[in-house]
Symmetry: C2
Subunit: 447 residues, 2 copies
């Protein structure tokens, strides 16, 4: 759909139909406009942007990618820059400032009003992954002794600045957080009700320095549209809104998935990352895994006599390594995901190990039987069929135990469990598989 | 934290301090109470539940796991059952009914009021993964000719039933969706403003039969707290709320991650799934992969003479298979995740292939150099070092190309790209690696 709209817009642009263009753009949602803007040529971007009505321009600007934002800022007059930034929500403004090169930041801060500049600076002081860096200071605060009528008056006065009015927070004069009130309950209340009588006093909040992933998890757990952020004295300093929480969840999932594939997390999108950066993010683990895999090769050298005597033994190496690796990565994946959605906790360690053990018994017997019959039928050699099948049973059980135990051990050591995913598990399991296989084989063949 | 509260609650329960218990529970958030309830013994659950104030009881009930819900329902009198269900939001009620066995469903429907029963039946008619099955019918609808004062009166009258008042939807008499209005804009407007003059007319909505994953994606894209759901005639039939959208996103991610580890998606949580079910979800792919890996073994039989003559060649098999598998799974993971967050589209196919090709050149040269030097230094055999290094170059390039092309090909064929992840890629790449390695080796050693 975006492709068609982009084509229509480019055609109007070519025909200089600016009036129709403006009408078309004004009817679109900012997210769709940002998507179109990421497709058009760099030359036409500033012109298109200037066609947008003022508040739609700021909303769209906040959703554009960093490169295009920088391009536009560089083309802006100081006045235009000020206009766009004054319309932005402070958390979006802070996000943009964080991504820009130093000279652009300087120009932005010079051209925003002092209050906004102060808030941006405050937000930028918080550590990158903290609740403080994620929050906005555009929230509505009420006093406990206000009546509902006072509160609605105050909301009407401050609302245009606030990103959200889903929940109002109640604080005392020193900003100490006392409670909160949903707009729903405000609308339901009688005009003379006191805020302190109708507010919700069970406060769930996060600290400015809390990890943003925990903030997002808590918001999901409590189904909160906004989460209050407090300082050491439980003074309200900002709120995190659900749209930022969803972005955090998506980013964390991407990071987990990349880590599970032995890729160091990449900050930019796929196409924005340079080839060298892509290579850099992948090479470290590849080197570690390659050198670790050489150990499996070393183990093989110990059994040179064995496969010198019975060459057939070599043929089953890839299959056994593959079975072990797959079983191990299935187990580790289940456990890593289970831990990241809090279904599995550290104290469940033995329960998990026993569960995986029982599952591995079922799986190993089926795989051993299918494979034993296959080898026996295809090669008519019951001895090698027995050796391979017995190896499969040992390898599957061991792989699943390693696969479930290592991610939990990593978490216990405060490492990211996702590091103990398929690639590392496979490498460890490979070596173990070769050992099990040749121990059984040398025993059976008296080698 | 939950563990400590659970302990405190169990102590109070033992001491029969019901008054304190009730006071303690009343102050807690429903999500925390549900977490505690999943920890306590089955015997104490009905008693604890009856200590909750009525509306907190319903909110908590909606968040409990299916087993505990069933346990409670079976213990409820018809009257209690009616009380709890009448307090539930209809989408939660429909979710619960969907999970219950037939006899329990019968009892629930018998004891809910006719209007709720009708709505539950309507929601249950929609396909499982559709927007219709996810929506709630508890929304606030306004008419275009109302004034702001009328609208606020109507909201106050219908609000207690509505799950959310973040956005009100404007419809005509036949429920045709005309626009929407955020509470923020409603509060900002003048009392005599007409709704049709202040409402937002750019309507973004989903159809009852749209896939719920697309609904969640759209809500994330537009930062919507609620998304209107319409039928074929664009009549408003319900709304999807952001909490359900986040659950959909989390479930889809879990499904993707499981599929990427060759596990068929599991509906229940880890501990709720029986051993046989766990095994069943893993065994199919293990069998397919095991039998495919046997092909790699067959390829090896073709080179019996080669490693009969140069036994050393065997030692490097595990390492080369590992390098190929890891490179392939890195590429496929990047592409699968990129496609699922819409960063990479099908039309980017050649761009992706060229990018991966360039990355693979950088990576293969580094890996080949490190490994060549290591083998040369450790074994003093420059010939085998050269063979292994050249193989690494070929294997890395081929693996990354296979790793990026197959997930995109799967998507083109309307399959889930996640199926083309590490396990299958590794198996395919293993066979290719062995072929490349022995072709180079036989050539170099004139075997």
């Amino acid at each position: 759909m975006t492709a068609e709209i982009t084509a229509a817009i480019e055609r109007l642009l070519l025909e200089k139909q600016y009036y129709s263009l403006r009408a078309l753009l004004s009817q679109m949602n900012e997210a769709d406009i940002a998507a179109v803007f990421s497709e058009v040529t760099e030359d036409s971007l500033p012109l298109l942007f200037r066609l947008l009505p003022k508040d739609l321009a700021a909303d769209t600007f906040a959703l554009m990618d960093t490169d295009n934002q920088e391009l536009l800022i560089n083309g802006f007059s100081d006045n235009e820059l000020k206009e766009v930034f004054d319309e932005l929500y402070v958390d979006d403004a802070a996000d943009i400032v964080e991504e820009m090169p130093a000279n652009v930041v300087k120009r932005i801060l010079k051209n925003t009003d002092p209050k906004m500049r102060h808030i941006i600076n405050e937000i930028l002081k918080y550590p990158e992954d903290s609740a403080g860096s994620l929050m906005t200071t555009d929230y509505i605060s009420l006093r406990p002794d206000m009546t509902v009528t006072d509160a609605i008056k105050r909301i009407r006065r401050t609302i245009s600045e606030a990103e959200t009015v889903y929940t109002c927070y109640v604080t005392d004069d020193s900003r100490y957080l006392l409670g909160y009130l949903s707009v729903k309950n405000l609308l339901l209340a009688e005009p003379n009700d006191k805020i302190c009588d109708i507010m919700e006093k069970t406060i769930i909040c996060v600290h400015t320095l809390d990890d943003k992933e925990d903030v997002a998890k808590n918001m999901t757990k409590y189904d909160f549209v906004t989460m209050p952020v407090v300082d050491d004295e439980r003074r309200l300093v900002g709120i995190v809104t659900f749209d930022d929480a969803i972005d955090v969840i998506q980013d964390e999932v991407t990071e987990d998935i990349e880590r599970m594939a032995a890729i160091s997390p990449i900050e930019e999108s796929y196409f924005k990352t340079s080839d060298f950066n892509h290579a850099r993010k992948r090479i470290m683990w590849l080197l570690i895994l390659m050198l670790s895999a050489a150990i499996t090769g070393l183990i093989l050298t110990q059994y040179e006599e064995a496969f010198g005597a019975v060459t057939e033994l070599v043929y089953f190496i890839p299959m056994l390594m593959s079975v072990g690796g797959n079983c191990g990565s299935q187990s580790s994946t289940m456990i890593i995901r289970g831990m990241s959605v809090d279904e599995i906790k550290l104290r469940d360690f033995f329960r998990v190990v026993f569960t995986e053990f029982r599952i591995s018994l079922i799986i190993s017997i089926i795989l051993a039987a299918v494979n034993g019959v296959r080898i026996w039928l295809m090669q008519g050699d019951i001895k090698i069929a027995a050796v391979v099948s017995m190896s499969i049973i040992g390898i599957v059980i061991l792989s699943q135990l390693i696969g479930c135990a290592l991610p939990m051990a990593a978490k216990k050591c405060r490492l990211d469990p996702a590091v103990m995913a398929a690639p590392l598990i496979t490498t460890i399991v490979d070596a173990a598989s070769i050992l099990i296989y040749f121990s059984i084989a040398t025993h059976f063949y008296n080698l």
